[in-house]
């Protein structure tokens, strides 16, 4: 517990301030408390990490079989810009897809930054009898 927080609680306990005032003061203190705790190494955001790898840059797909091995590294920028490629799709093709219930325009409405951040936490591990598939971001 921080010194400021303890002081507020002491003031409340001694009856110097009301519960509403204490609540308001604690609310004001919250960012300060967060600031002081963030300095611990475990809570340092990835952006401030010394490695500098704030956000994932690549989507990796690894397939390992008995004799075969496939390793694909796709830049996430390619995914985010590739979504815009639907603008180049012929009208007939997009109409055909729409008739089958696939509306590519929905992709362009997506927030690509949000998508990439979400992909950063993605890890898919599939282990079969013959093959192992691993999909992750790095």
């Amino acid at each position: 517990m921080s010194v400021e927080r303890r002081k507020v609680l002491d003031m409340l306990m001694n009856g110097k301030i009301t519960a509403e005032e204490a609540d308001r003061l604690l609310d004001k203190l919250t960012p300060t408390i967060l600031d002081s705790t963030v300095s611990s190494p475990a809570l340092v955001s990835q952006e401030d990490s010394p490695t500098g790898h704030a956000t994932p840059r690549f989507l990796r797909v690894e397939v390992n079989g008995n004799d075969d091995r496939v390793d694909i590294r796709i830049p996430l920028k390619l995914i985010s810009t590739g979504i815009k490629l639907q603008a180049m799709m012929p009208r007939g093709a997009s109409e055909e897809l729409e008739s089958r219930g696939i509306d590519l325009r929905e992709f362009s409405k997506m927030d690509t930054d949000e998508l990439i951040n979400a992909l950063g936490e993605l890890t898919v591990d599939v282990t079969g009898k013959k093959e192992t598939v691993r999909i992750y971001c790095e």
Partner: protein
């Protein structure tokens, strides 16, 4: 966003191929072609006001090409090894 400047293609196995294609040599050519295409599309589409769509398409294509940097495809099996990378 920096477009890829080198394409590395390595094929192992019986026919060993190592190719280092300097894509950066194509940049000036692509630039000139892009300017020409943009001018032509602008002239052709002006009455219909459809040039915005074509501009958008050209820009998207350039963005996709630029985003290729870092793409890696590696396939190994008992007979062949294929390695393709955009640097």
């Amino acid at each position: 966003m920096m477009p890829p400047w080198l394409l590395v293609i390595k094929i192992g196995g019986k026919r060993r191929v190592n190719l280092y294609l300097p894509i950066f040599l194509l940049w000036p050519l692509v630039g000139i072609l892009w300017i020409l295409a943009a001018i032509i599309s602008l002239i052709q589409s002006r009455p219909h006001n459809a040039h915005r769509g074509r501009w958008h398409q050209i820009l998207v294509l350039l963005q996709v090409v630029s985003a290729l940097s870092g793409l890696l495809v590696e396939v190994h099996n008992s007979q062949d090894d294929v390695f393709i990378e955009f640097i």
